[in-house]
């Protein structure tokens, strides 16, 4: 074995979590398969970063709300600027956004901004927010060429027009072109498991993450997810960093729990993610992550800032489930065979239907892996209502 570290993560599978006290199973609920063990081959670090997940402020989540931030589906950059500044100041206790950012970023850093373009253009990391994050990182002294805005899939980034609308000098990078392109991944860093007897049992870490970046700012969206329950901080950096992740789902089953959490523990990813800024301008409460159906997209006008991805996703999960129940849709925790459809069109039109038995327990499982706080009673949820 080379310098890399080979470990088997002790992970609590989906069935284990359900037994462990999450919502009780109804009489029509199905029994889900237990996840297999996941082997991790990672890059050893001389010293784990204190900035890595859950970061400098475990359990603290700042939520900033401003109704003016999204009007007629358009995001207001000046309002987002103000929201981001207030959020960073509240999170860190510093007097300016620049001072707050210096807690996470140094001028010498190569900084990755991990966007979520899946679902573009209807709901993706807003270019307006990404521009504000870039501006704040640059205020610390990071040159434009050392800022990398990235995601896995180029076609999704194209749909979001990120290349065109970000400032000159910033590198805008997609890791792969097409489903089978593995050239952008590091063959030495991977998670390995056989979920459904698949031929390729490894998922490799993106080379830009493994070798090209010093710090990562995670910019997830506020979405329901047909497999994982919600997609937030954890899923954005896990399934957005490793390849060959679709193999973790074979409808109606999915092993997003525990794979998402395990992937987030893999070094150097864990140490490099220093800040999460959730774009909650829009909430997708059904049809995520790819829906373009505006019926299921709600203009929430929120931003959330935290170093703790588990705490933030816990809040996201509660909010999305609440919205679903308000709209008469089943909870993301529901595991009834009658809710499952094999027809994608039906799923995208009918909020009572789903493609998988969702696995929102992936968030609590990530908490048990030490990535953050999943108990709502322990989360310091600070709300700033601007307008």
């Amino acid at each position: 074995m080379d310098r890399r570290t080979f470990v088997r993560r002790t992970c609590i599978g989906s069935a284990g979590l359900l037994v462990g006290g999450l919502p009780a199973l109804g009489s029509n609920e199905v029994v889900l398969p237990v996840a297999p063990p996941i082997d991790v081959h990672e890059a050893p670090l001389a010293k784990k970063s204190q900035l890595g997940m859950p970061g400098l402020f475990p359990g603290r989540v700042v939520e900033i709300a401003d109704r003016r931030s999204i009007v007629a589906n358009r995001v207001s950059q000046p309002i987002v600027h103000d929201m981001l500044e207030r959020g960073l100041k509240e999170l860190t206790g510093e007097s300016s956004a620049q001072a707050a950012m210096t807690k996470f970023i140094e001028p010498k850093d190569v900084v990755g901004i991990k966007i979520n373009p899946s679902g573009a253009p209807a709901c993706c990391s807003s270019p307006e927010l990404v521009r504000e994050i870039i501006s704040t990182v640059r205020s610390v002294g990071v040159p434009a060429r050392n800022i990398v805005v990235y995601d896995r899939f180029g076609d999704e980034m194209d749909q979001g027009s990120y290349h065109a609308v970000l400032p000159p000098g910033i590198r805008v990078v997609n890791i792969q072109d097409g489903l089978l392109d593995a050239s952008g991944y590091d063959a030495n860093v991977y998670c390995q498991a056989s979920f459904f007897g698949e031929w390729e049992t490894r998922s490799y870490m993106a080379s830009v993450v493994a070798n090209g970046l010093d710090k990562i700012i995670n910019v997830p969206t506020f979405k329901d997810h047909s497999a994982s329950g919600v997609t937030g901080c954890l899923k954005n950096v896990a399934y957005g960093t490793f390849n060959n992740v679709a193999r973790s789902h074979v409808a109606p089953y999915t092993f997003t729990n525990p794979l998402i959490g395990v992937m987030c523990t893999v070094e150097p990813l864990r140490s490099k993610v220093v800040l999460n800024i959730m774009d909650g301008m829009r909430m997708v409460w059904h049809g995520g992550p790819l829906t373009q159906n505006q019926e299921f997209i709600y203009a929430t006008g929120l931003l959330m800032v935290s170093t703790d991805p588990v705490a933030m996703d816990t809040i996201e999960l509660e909010a999305i489930d609440k919205k679903r129940l308000e709209q008469g849709a089943p909870s993301v925790w529901e595991h009834k065979a009658s809710s499952i459809t094999t027809d994608n069109r039906e799923f995208y039109q009918d909020a009572s239907k789903n493609l998988f038995y969702r696995q929102p327990g992936h968030i609590a499982a990530a908490g048990k892996l030490g990535l953050g706080v999943s108990d709502m009673k322990q989360i310091d949820h600070r709300r700033l209502q601007i307008s």
Partner: protein, 356 residues
């Protein structure tokens, strides 16, 4: 007043009606309006794969289809057989639709360069460098190639040698393919501005700010400049001073580029609709939901409009009614080429089709 010639290319004439030398067929963005409307394709005459994703429109001249790919190659493909004549390896991925000028094929590259490659032999004629990715298609007029770069500059180089004439800094990244009129260059910019530049010097003559970034490529019809913006609007500007004549609101950002035919322009929006607007007034003639998201431009046949977005679609040009769809050749910026009774398509999956 500068008048766009909508029936021929001013200084780089197509050899035959079937030639398709740049984005939307010719420098006037006519989108192939002289091509006959095609019935629904009955078969693939040939199909080939280039080995990597294709995110650009092909161009065609004298029986050769030129296709750029993410793998960093320019491919020359024989249209009678689908056989590869040659391929040229550039420095990095290519997202730039090629354009033809004389014997050369011009295209930009992610290595920051624009290349000119001999269309017969596949050998490099010249290259010129910028400081950013070049996704735009070089547009040639009066012996000068104009193109924008992600470094935020517009460039003018001699089309035969690559020697630089001028460069002009704009306020944002340039992913909009320029429109070259006789004395002026029109282009959109990532900072939301539409610029008009003096084609001889690069001096900015006027700029008009829209509400968000622009990656749509403009078209000039008479003295009206048409362009989309990510602020959800399609704009018609006075080409002489940039004043807004009208703007039409769609449901999401407009990355697609206008194709023009007579009094009408057709343009897609990310809301999934294709819009037919009267050029003089901005009045909606029709709109049709063709796909979930439209980012590529459409092209005109005689009485039909063709669009690649989650497959290929044919719509009646007069009503917008869907004539037929084919579930192949998904694309983001891929555009069909129509030559006689054949439609050439490229796809995200790296396929090239000749359908008839």
């Amino acid at each position: 007043m500068e008048m766009a010639n909508t029936s021929s290319v001013p200084d780089v004439p197509a050899v035959s009606e079937n030639d398709w030398i740049t984005l939307l067929k010719d420098n006037s963005r006519s989108g192939g309006q002289s091509a006959a409307a095609l019935p629904s394709p009955g078969k693939a005459r040939w199909q080939m794969r280039v080995g990597s994703s294709i995110r650009t429109a092909p161009v065609l001249r004298e029986g050769t289809l030129y296709v750029t790919s993410i793998g960093g190659h320019l491919h020359a493909i024989q249209t009678d057989s689908g056989r590869l004549k040659w391929k040229f390896k550039a420095g990095r991925a290519i997202y730039s639709t090629p354009s033809l000028n004389g014997a050369n094929v011009l295209f930009g590259c992610d290595d920051g360069k624009v290349y000119a490659v001999n269309g017969e032999s596949g050998t490099k004629v010249w290259e010129t460098a910028t400081e950013g990715q070049v996704w735009t298609s070089p547009v040639v007029r009066q012996g000068v190639a104009f193109f924008g770069s992600a470094d935020g500059h517009m460039y003018a180089v001699e089309a035969q040698t690559g020697k630089q004439r001028w460069e002009q800094e704009l306020g944002g990244r340039v992913y909009s393919t320029a429109y070259a009129a006789e004395k002026k260059i029109y282009v959109g910019c990532g900072d939301g501005q539409v610029h008009c530049l003096d084609s001889a010097t690069g001096k900015i003559l006027w700029s008009t700010l829209t509400g968000n970034g622009i990656d749509s490529s403009p078209a000039l019809v008479g003295d009206t400049l048409l362009i989309g913006s990510l602020d959800f609007y399609v704009y018609a500007l006075d080409a002489s001073n940039g004043a807004v004549r009208w703007k039409y609101e769609t449901g999401l950002g407009v990355s697609s580029s206008p194709a023009v035919s007579g009094e009408v322009t057709v343009i897609g929006s990310k809301d999934g609709y294709l819009y037919a607007l009267e050029i003089a007034t901005g009045k909606l003639r029709w709109k049709t939901r063709a796909s979930q998201v439209i980012t590529a431009p459409a092209v005109f046949g005689d009485s039909a409009i063709y669009l690649q977005s989650g497959g290929v679609h044919a719509l009646d040009a007069g009503t917008g009614n869907m004539l037929w769809r084919a579930g192949l050749a998904s694309g983001v910026q891929n555009v069909p080429v129509i030559a006689g009774r054949t439609m050439y398509l490229t796809s995200n999956e790296g396929e090239v089709y000749a359908l008839e």
